[in-house]
């Protein structure tokens, strides 16, 4: 049995349509027009313990709705979610003590008080005994440098520090599963780096399963061995990141630096995508021709001074995935 099982999950919302103009406003008072929206349309997947899974998708794709159902905040219209065999919305209190959740844009920290006060409150709510509390604080200090900010009032923390605080608060009770909703949003490079480092570390040290919703492809690249792409409420891709890249963007780029300018470079298995005076970008399918072969072919024909091979841009790949039509 997988740790997290999502089976045929569906979520429908009833939306009231507001009509235009004065007549519309009056008629909405008496005869509001309602229709159903399927935010999540029959999705299924399993996640094993210890995985780090990235959830991506355009805005409105159904990501946060899915996450809310996985954490038990929202009831599914149809289908089921099971964490370790237990349904989170049916047995809320049993499951929730083992989950940690961080919302990127909302904080659970008490705004006006020291960070430590929120920790003390959570210690009591989650019934964390003194030893576990001490150990966890120590571990969080190693990974997040938490004692540096534990005495600062939350409203005085920078965004990056506040995020560290929220992550620590979510980990305090040693959850087996961590849900992170856009944890690196708005952070600078330094801060993003330390958050990603934290996620890697707790996954390695504690075996925490991490489910990460993000728009930041740096997060995807650095953290997610597995990627689930959701669009229009359906799963569009689900698998190891490498194989998705292989499939969606099987090409690579070869950048050739010429010794002297040449026009109209050509190779049967490569496409010229960009040219500058002394540089040419080739795009080639690595399943049709190897880089080494292409280089040797080209150097026979053209005066090449230097070459470099580039991997495809994840961003391009993701954009391609978003564009794919969703089959019902």
């Amino acid at each position: 049995m997988a740790f997290l099982e999502v089976e045929n999950l569906v979520k429908e919302f009833i939306v009231t349509k507001k009509k235009e103009g004065l007549r519309g406003a009056v008629s909405s008072l008496f005869h509001p027009e309602k229709f159903k929206v399927r935010a999540v349309d029959d999705i299924s997947f399993n996640i094993e313990q210890g995985e780090i899974v990235g959830f991506i998708g355009p805005n409105g794709a159904g990501k946060s709705t899915t996450v809310k159902m996985m954490t038990g905040i929202l009831h599914p219209t149809m289908g089921s979610v099971k964490i370790n065999g237990i349904s989170p919305h049916k047995n809320r209190k049993a499951i929730v003590g083992k989950l940690g959740v961080v919302f990127g844009q909302r904080t659970q920290l008490y705004w006006d008080l020291r960070l430590g006060e929120t920790f003390e409150l959570l210690k009591r709510i989650y019934r964390i005994d003194d030893k576990m509390y001490k150990d966890n604080i120590k571990m969080l200090d190693e990974v997040l440098n938490i004692t540096e900010i534990i005495d600062t009032p939350v409203r005085q923390l920078s965004l990056g520090q506040r995020m560290r605080g929220d992550l620590a608060a979510a980990m305090l009770h040693s959850p087996t599963m961590l849900f992170l909703d856009e944890p690196t949003i708005g952070l600078d490079i330094e801060a993003k780096h330390s958050i990603r480092n934290f996620i890697k570390q707790i996954n390695e040290r504690c075996g925490t399963t991490v489910i990460l919703t993000t728009h930041d492809l740096g997060d995807v690249e650095q953290l997610c061995k597995r990627l689930i792409v959701i669009n229009h409420g359906k799963i569009v891709e689900d698998g190891p990141l490498n194989s998705i890249i292989e499939r969606m963007a099987p090409h690579r780029y070869l950048v050739v630096e010429l010794a002297s300018p040449h026009q109209n470079l050509f190779h049967p298995y490569a496409e010229v995508v960009k040219t500058e005076t002394l540089r040419v970008w080739f795009k080639f399918d690595k399943s049709r021709i190897a880089a080494t072969e292409l280089i040797s072919d080209l150097s026979k024909t053209y005066p090449i001074r230097d070459v470099s091979v580039k991997e495809p841009d994840i961003e391009d790949m993701i954009r391609e995935i978003y564009k794919k039509p969703v089959i019902s």
């Binding site: 004065l22 406003a25 008072l29």
Partner: protein, 277 residues
């Protein structure tokens, strides 16, 4: 090619603009209908409770201090109507802008910002006639009694006096908001002022019920001239011949407060421009 607008076309355009504005107002009203109804409900409850209290007080008694039951009921109804008319926004606005530092820009504007607030508050007062005052008036007339003025002259003088009252109240609020320049964490000064007004203005307790000595003291304060004065004129406790004196005192208070306000305002201005917000 010259395009000429004749007067008819101009009038048409203006009419359409006003219709559009009215439509917008109505749309906004409909979307906030919940709050409007609950605020109407609150006003209704308060005035009805007071009405029943006065009925119980007057049971079997003809008049006290020269005031009969119907007059007292009229007083109560009109007091609530006046209160719905006297809503003032300047204190919120000004306090907000001072604490956020936006106020510095206002000093550089060509139009005095105070006049702008006054115009806004007058606008709000007039619109609340439609949204608050009229519905209350209708309900009170149907379910309790129509609040008839003592005489046509009394009504006219009442209107003038009410305008003075509005100005006095507005000036007091503006002066209190001004304190924000010096005491940044003003907290809820507005509510303290409201509390004093509640007690000493005749809004709830007609001042002729207070012991004579206290009445003497209250006469030197501006509060009585906000509610008591217009209301007593309306119900005829103060007859038109006698109205000149209290209305004159209203005017004096307006004058005093205006002077104080402009003085305080220029001091505040100096402070901001020197200190930099």
């Amino acid at each position: 090619m010259q395009v000429e607008f004749n007067n008819e076309a101009k009038g048409y355009v203006v009419m359409r603009a006003y219709c559009y504005l009215a439509k917008m107002k109505l749309l906004v009203f409909l979307s906030y209908r919940f709050e409007v109804f609950t605020s109407l409900g609150t006003n209704l409850i308060v005035v009805l409770a007071n009405i029943y209290l006065w009925k119980a007080a007057y049971k079997g008694i003809d008049s006290v201090a020269g005031v009969r039951e119907t007059q007292m009921l009229t007083y109560t109804i009109m007091s609530t109507l006046l209160a719905s008319f006297f809503s003032v926004n300047i204190e919120h606005e000004l306090q907000e802008r001072i604490t956020h530092g936006d106020i510095a820009i206002d000093f550089f504007r060509p139009i005095s910002i105070l006049l702008k607030y006054l115009a806004e508050d007058i606008g709000i007062a007039i619109s609340s006639v439609l949204s608050k005052l009229l519905p209350l008036l209708v309900i009170m007339t149907v379910f309790v009694q129509p609040p008839v003025p003592d005489s046509p002259m009394a009504f006219v003088l009442f209107l003038l006096s009410a305008v003075f009252s509005f100005l006095i109240l507005w000036l007091i609020s503006a002066l209190i908001s001004l304190l924000c320049f010096w005491v940044l964490q003003l907290g809820e000064m507005k509510t303290v002022k409201d509390g004093i007004v509640l007690l000493l203005s005749g809004k709830i307790i007609p001042l002729w019920l207070f012991p004579k000595k206290i009445q003497r003291i209250i006469e030197f304060l501006p509060f009585q001239y906000v509610y008591q004065t217009p209301l007593s004129i309306y119900i005829g406790k103060v007859q038109p011949e006698q109205a000149a004196v209290p209305m004159l005192i209203q005017f004096v208070w307006i004058f005093l407060f205006t002077v104080l306000l402009s003085f305080g305002w220029s001091r505040a201005r100096k402070r901001v421009l020197v200190q930099g917000g």
